[in-house]
């Protein structure tokens, strides 16, 4: 199975719940995954289908297949109090074409109610005439939430459409609504009772959306997908480049770069393909924070080979080779064999530290110049960038991200007056999604603000100062 195309074991995937929320899961064989109120399913059921497939959880369980999953939200409660989620069978759904990705408030994720959607036309003003303008769903809906909960249990083994039909029957004024608001109503209900989910390939885009969903916007510096897209292109990020990077997003930026540089890497690929690219991550604290890479499907070995980290202190004030060698004496084979187990462990740690030091020396060598500088940092850029600049080769890109334009304005003024930087350019890019329903096309009424700003410049080598007297060529 090609894990870049097909849902595979031990892979991280992104699950899209009926509510539109995202969940990241690792697909361990013979395990189950709980989606909370939307049910639970066996992982084995979904393996082998193309990534991007949609499944429905089905509770017509056969004997012996019954089971329960733990709900992660219940973990804090004492064991015997935890509500267990019954595990159903995940069944592939054949997609019908009426599913459009985005609409306002996620209210138009229609599929099985496509018939009503098809009937939809413009509602002229007359249709709205008899509507109760103050009506809100809770007033006009006959079933209480308790009843619905009961019904959900009762109908656990029927599909969600049936539940929705029940609710419609009990909805007093359903037929008074316009078709459009009927559709909206159905979708709202559907997102509550549906047991469908989509298994997406792990991508930077979805990781980003997952973090935004979680409210981690500040943690990722308010970055948007469109800004990252610009970083990758203006940063000229490609498989064979060696990039100097500061990433204060916990690894999101680095993950996007890896995707662009290496794509999906299988174990086979690692043996057969030659990946040249490197990302050198400079960090401000003692240890680098690339936490988000834990969600990636790159092996630890692969990451270690292509991502190297170094603190700003080590980068700007690296140890000399002498200092390193003085501080460490390599033991001979013979000496090693004489060590006790404990002593050998100590030695291993020391040798690891030694290699790390050697790497620092290697990465900071005077003649080592990088193929690009990509910075997403809250350090003052007017000081930072001119100090990093000399490490970048001529004609290579410098691209800085900031949540705030004012920060980059200051930087571009700084670089503008420095002959080592060509044409600092301040940019903003925004993606404006539409409600993409035919006959109802319009930009979404509200969207997330922010998304950040970019400063792009090219590292150049100024011509040497012109001598005051020049010898004219003969």
């Amino acid at each position: 199975m090609d894990s870049s195309k097909v849902i595979s074991f031990n892979q991280h995937v992104v699950l899209e719940l009926p509510s539109g929320n995202l969940k990241i899961a690792e697909l361990r064989p013979n395990n189950s995954i709980s989606l909370g109120k939307f049910g639970a399913f066996y992982i084995n059921d979904i393996i082998g289908y193309p990534l991007g497939s949609r499944f429905e959880i089905n509770y017509e369980v056969k004997e012996g297949e019954e089971g329960f999953a733990e709900d992660s939200k219940e973990k804090k409660k004492p064991k015997h109090m935890q509500k267990k989620i019954p595990i159903g069978k995940a069944k592939l759904m054949i997609e019908t074409p009426a599913i459009n990705e985005t609409s306002d408030d996620n209210e138009d994720r229609s599929d099985s109610i496509g018939t009503i959607a098809d009937e939809l036309e413009y509602e002229n003003s007359l249709n709205n005439k008899n509507l109760n303008i103050k009506g809100n769903p809770s007033e006009i809906q006959e079933l209480s939430m308790a009843e619905i909960e009961e019904m959900k249990k009762q109908y656990a083994n029927t599909n969600s459409q049936d539940i929705i039909n029940k609710i419609i029957q009990s909805h007093k004024e359903f037929n008074l609504k316009t078709k459009y608001s009927q559709l909206k109503y159905l979708n709202r209900k559907k997102s509550k009772f549906s047991k469908e989910f989509i298994v997406h390939k792990m991508t930077g885009r979805l990781l980003l959306n997952y973090l935004i969903d979680k409210g981690d916007i500040q943690r990722i510096m308010d970055m948007s997908e469109e800004s990252i897209g610009m970083i990758l292109n203006y940063g000229n990020v490609k498989s064979n480049g060696k990039y100097l990077v500061i990433d204060e997003t916990g690894g999101l930026l680095v993950y996007f770069m890896m995707e662009r540089m290496f794509g999906h890497v299988t174990e086979n690929d690692m043996e057969n393909k030659k990946f040249e690219g490197e990302i050198i991550v400079i960090h401000e604290n003692e240890h680098v924070n690339l936490d988000l890479l834990k969600f990636s499907n790159y092996s630890e070995k692969f990451i270690k080979k292509h991502i190297k980290s170094i603190s700003i202190l080590d980068f700007f004030e690296p140890p000399t080779e002498e200092e390193i060698n003085n501080g460490f004496t390599k033991l001979t084979r013979e000496e090693l064999s004489k060590l006790s187990n404990g002593e050998r462990n100590v030695y291993q740690r020391r040798i690891k530290g030694y290699y790390k030091q050697c790497q620092i020396v290697e990465l900071t060598k005077n003649d080592r110049k990088y193929d690009g500088l990509i910075v997403a940092s809250t350090l003052q850029l007017t000081q930072l960038i001119p100090r990093l600049g000399p490490k970048i080769h001529g004609s290579r890109s410098i691209i800085c991200y900031s949540q705030f334009k004012e920060i980059l304005l200051e930087l571009s003024h700084e670089l503008y007056s420095d002959l080592n930087y060509l044409a600092p350019t301040l940019m903003e890019t925004r993606c404006r999604p539409y409600q993409s329903v035919r006959g109802k096309l319009h930009p979404l009424m509200t969207m997330r603000g922010g998304g950040g700003y970019l400063m792009w410049s090219l590292k150049v080598e100024p011509a040497p100062p012109i001598p005051s007297i020049e010898i004219e060529p003969k």
Binding site: G204, N236, R260, S299, L441, A463
Partner: protein
């Protein structure tokens, strides 16, 4: 590797390079030690560039003056190439192309279809990052032009990850067969190209005519992404209709709105300075008034000596009446009035923005003319396979569970 693919350190004979004269004036050259790059400021000999690192600034003494002219010699990138294209050409600009590449998850696993090729600007960006690009152009002249350019840039012949085909995809679809007008080099036993495309970009006036042809060339066992690029909203409507009809899902249309800002400075002009300036003007004026009054009185006194008629109204009240011609003598005696001295904002002189004699506030200013619209981007996705290979699944399950936990953490 191609001139776009490899990171080169030094400018060498035969290189394709971009000469940066200004942001709006970037020109491609092929480095040739016998050649010169001509500008209106003078000629830059290529031999001055050779051996220098890329990014080097080159200076020449301008013709007939003692000033110097400068250019920068850059290694081409798809983005710089796009900037170098004349604006009248139809170009997919970087804010759009970078979003599309990101959204379609372009990388070393991507097989991309692009139709039409157009100016070829987007082709370069795709070529940099994807496994293979299949570009289609229905217009013959444009096809030849693009093919030549791709060859010159090493995309077809060196990187070998670009195929361009002359084709009306709306009529004839995307299958590339032996005998077609295409850059593809068929092997002896090869009859057609297996595209296996998993990312598609259609920049066509009527993408809905091309959509039905896609099923035969897209990758079967994975989710395939599609983006249609259309300037008018009515095209979007027809596109969505066709996408739905052809089984594409997760349809979403977006617009990319991007801006560039200029870094500028505005003079800090305080109220206090403005007040002081007016006070200064006023005091000079009063001085003038007082002086003129003195002169006027002197004159009157002089005149009095000659004239026995006395003035009937209080002099004090008409002392400002200086418009009246005074006697020649008084006029000659009039000293030159000192100009006001306090000029905190440099009024009356041309002040260069950022002049250090004044205080400035950093401000940003959007470009004078913005690209307010390029095209609408309509995305959709499709997966053809909806079964799994149960046999393979069983094998995989056994293999995975037999292994000592392949879990990496």
């Amino acid at each position: 590797m191609s001139y776009f693919g490899e990171f080169k350190d030094l400018i060498q004979e035969g290189d394709l390079a971009l000469v940066w004269i200004s942001r709006d004036n970037i020109k491609p050259i092929t480095v040739d030690s016998k050649e010169f790059f001509n500008t209106r400021y003078g000629s830059f000999p290529h031999r001055d560039m050779i051996g220098k690192p890329y990014g080097s600034q080159i200076a020449i003494r301008t013709k007939g003056s003692n000033k110097f002219a400068f250019i920068h010699v850059l290694q081409p990138t798809p983005e710089l190439w796009t900037l170098s294209l004349p604006h009248r050409t139809q170009i997919v600009y970087t804010p759009d192309s970078s979003y599309i590449m990101e959204r379609l998850n372009c990388g070393p696993n991507s097989n991309v279809i692009e139709a039409g090729t157009g100016s070829g600007s987007f082709s370069h960006a795709f070529a940099r990052n994807v496994k293979h690009l299949y570009s289609f152009e229905f217009h013959e002249a444009r096809y030849n032009q693009a093919k030549e350019e791709f060859e010159k840039h090493g995309l077809i012949n060196i990187e070998n990850n670009v195929t361009i085909t002359h084709r009306d995809v709306c009529e004839s679809g995307f299958t590339i067969k032996k005998g077609d007008v295409t850059s593809n080099q068929f092997k002896d036993d090869e009859e057609y190209v297996n595209l296996e495309a998993n990312a598609i970009f259609l920049d066509l006036p009527a993408p809905w005519e091309a959509l039905p042809h896609l099923d035969t060339v897209i990758s079967k066992d994975e989710s395939v992404g599609l983006c249609c690029f259309s300037p008018c909203i009515e095209q979007v409507d027809k596109t969505i209709e066709a996408m739905e009809k052809n089984g594409w899902i997760n349809i979403q249309m977006v617009e990319i709105q991007s801006k560039q800002y200029e870094s500028r400075r505005q003079m800090i002009r305080t109220l206090d300075d403005a007040l002081e300036r007016l006070r200064d003007i006023k005091s000079h004026k009063l001085e003038g008034v007082a002086r003129r009054k003195r002169e006027f009185e002197n004159m009157i006194n002089e005149e009095k000596k000659l004239d026995t008629n006395a003035n009937k109204i209080d002099k004090k009240d008409i002392s400002t009446q200086t418009e009246k011609p005074t006697s020649k003598k008084a006029q000659n005696n009039r000293p030159i009035i000192a100009k006001t001295k306090f000029n905190p904002f440099g009024k009356g002189s041309r002040v260069r923005e950022g002049d250090t004699n004044f205080q400035w506030k950093q401000v940003s200013k959007v470009e004078t003319e913005i690209k307010s619209h390029t095209s609408y981007l309509t995305f959709a996705f499709k997966t053809i396979t909806n079964t799994r290979d149960e046999e393979l699944f069983q094998k995989e399950l056994e293999f995975t569970t037999s292994k000592p936990s392949s879990h990496k953490k």
